[in-house]
Symmetry: C2
Subunit: 406 residues, 2 copies
């Protein structure tokens, strides 16, 4: 009766699931007095909770037989109509029939990678990139090749070079994963000039683009960017999310894929989750189709703009010489380059002592976390989405002390 259970001999992919540094900071950031510049949580105080509560009550009481039952594998008609409305607000015309609802946009990425990539295939992504995407890639044993970015976003020349180099090495490049607007973690937006260039490089190389756009409606000035999906709908898979513009706790996201991928996406989604929460979809439908969701969003944008300004001013005041930072025009994040020779891990230790936390830069690269040459070792991400301006100023002040004193 003592044979070893075989889950002590796990699948190869099991090694790819590493703790997310973002989530591991939760525990520290929950301690009293600690200021968290770590997690990218939206500010939900702008939501009309009483109205949403009434809507939830109405949905369950009047439409409960449907909203509590199994739902359509592509998503409810109402949720897909809400997606059409939200994408229209960003200037992207789509048809409801082309929308696949998923249990959050992380799930949409998971499904797309499942359909595109065999183990050992390569996904191109900005360096740095979203830590949750790295988790999806690692879990599906896909290799990541980071492509350089600068203050105008992903560099088309570096993209073209990477594709050619990888192919000359016999590697199979399956897609470019990119966050063009208010990029996580850098806050940088791909310039208007580069968008058609990136699209063109990928089209010529036969490399589909996965355009991940959770922050597109969160520019500080209300301006929207041109979507790459519109530039080349046949070669771009668009991922959207209600998490940053409505509420992440509902776990509803979506994909708009080129026609050949739609049915496979639906089947993969059904095989993985059957469907997204039908109650959540109904609440999204009620809110986006029946309420002034854009008013709440405008309020939120104002909050985020003020907070980004507070962080920038505090950085100018408190950062030691040699520290540089990005200047986001929307979204949740600022990215810091530390003075030469300073490690983000050393700074984090000092910062925790000073009761402020952030996410170290190494989390956003595929590669080793420590040691000379670890990518991101001299960088870090600050989130300004959730704390108020005074708290953010105090947090940046503590961080400045931690960097100076390390």
């Amino acid at each position: 009766m003592s044979t070893t259970p075989t889950f002590l001999q796990p699948a190869a992919r099991a090694a790819g699931y590493r703790p997310s540094p973002v989530r591991d900071f939760w525990e520290v950031s929950m301690q009293p007095g600690v200021i968290s510049l770590a997690g990218g949580n939206p500010d939900l105080t702008v939501l009309p909770l009483a109205e949403l509560g009434s809507a939830a009550s109405r949905i369950v009481t009047e439409r409960g037989m449907e909203a509590l039952q199994y739902g359509s594998g592509t998503g409810t008609q109402g949720a897909r109509d809400a997606v059409v409305r939200v994408m229209a607000a960003e200037g992207i015309p789509v048809d409801a029939d082309s929308v696949q609802i998923t249990a959050g946009s992380q799930m949409a990425l998971e499904l797309v990678i499942k359909l595109l990539c065999d183990p050992g295939d390569v996904i191109l992504a900005e360096g740095p990139t979203y830590v949750g995407a790295l988790g999806v890639f690692a879990g599906l044993q896909v290799d990541v090749e980071h492509v350089a970015m600068d203050q105008d976003g992903l560099r088309p020349d570096a993209l073209e070079e990477a594709i050619a180099r990888l192919r000359s090495q016999g590697r199979t490049v399956k897609a470019l994963y990119t966050i063009p607007n208010f990029h996580n973690p850098t806050g940088i937006t791909l310039s208007a000039e580069r968008r058609p260039q990136v699209v063109d490089v990928c089209r010529r190389a036969g490399v589909p683009i996965i355009e991940d756009n959770p922050y597109g409606l969160l520019s500080f000035d209300g301006e929207v960017q041109q979507s790459m999906q519109q530039l080349d709908p046949e070669n771009v898979i668009y991922l959207g999310s209600f998490s940053k513009i409505v509420a992440p706790g509902l776990r509803v996201g979506w994909a708009v894929a080129p026609e050949p991928l739609r049915r496979p996406l639906q089947l993969a989604s059904e095989a993985t989750t059957i469907c997204a929460s039908v109650l959540s979809q109904a609440l999204i439908e009620e809110y986006v189709l029946g309420h002034d969701w854009q008013a709440a969003l405008t309020t939120a944008r104002g909050l985020y703009r003020g907070r980004a300004t507070a962080v920038r001013e505090a950085l100018e005041e408190h950062m030691p010489a040699g520290t540089r930072w990005s200047t986001p025009r929307g979204g949740f994040f600022t990215w810091l380059d530390l003075p030469e020779g300073v490690s983000c891990h050393t700074v984090l230790d000092a910062a925790i002592d000073a009761k402020v936390v952030f996410v170290p830069g190494t989390a956003f690269y595929d590669g080793p976390d420590f040691g000379v040459g670890a990518p991101g070792l001299s960088q870090l991400r600050l989130a300004f989405s959730l704390e108020d301006e005074d708290t953010l100023r105090e947090g940046v002040k503590r961080l400045g002390g931690a960097i100076a004193g390390r």
Copy 2:
């Protein structure tokens, strides 16, 4: 500009995502006058919708900052406490800390298979088995070996033989997937005598058991069965679901795994969905901890018992000679063996003409759907969970005509 996008060269696993016959019948079964004996949807008329609506309103209005925000990767404390309560009602003592909440129990199975299985590994499963599990296995490129069952459920001798045979062929057997209670699709329950035998075979062979138990609380007489998880907690991964006892539209399920698997499960869950709908989890918490959920369940059990009886009586009255069926003591399904030489596909064509639908037996086996020797070709599944007794009688009568007239 005309290079072929590489999603026309999909991943090998993409071929594994086949349409679920259960969901494809939705369209036919939605036509007016068609009686569906196909989908295993729970009857939600037993739910106290007004009370649930008030709870939903209260959650959003009073706890919205938390219920609409990102939640814990293992699940909310409240949802895990609700799982403890539900499992206690089935006589299974567990600690809330051992519970991993997932976006439905299909997702729990997906995560477990991700962690255990490399492509080409083998999962043992009853023949026939749950069509959604076959979708998970196919999507992760895991091979399925069906193990024979009889009226007492999975046969321990056949299980032992299959493990030995597969190993002698050099195959890697990673787990037994089993639905011991009111099995989908057969309705059969594993006998009390066989439970320790199955557990013992697996323990001796070092093969973990995945015990999928969505129907355990749905016995017609209220009796509960011994869980295999209790017989060998170190070698059994237990999967549970609120879909059949509360509401599937919330998409909340769970896993109780042996200690070494818990942290990997959490990380895989975070990488795949971040967390389950926090709103759904809050509603489950309110309902299970704050309301008499067992009263609704008792009512539901009575409904299902009456419906199963109606189906059995109608089968006795209307089936042509040579047809046999299982006699479930709970759950949603009855399994039919057709007269010799009769194909379930031929019967389905005639049945659709007669305005009744069911799921053909081939859907529940890994293998070809058509042709001589296709497993399940002379079998079919009848669901009695959703239609009322008169409708079920009429549906079975039409089915009898379709079988007799084929």
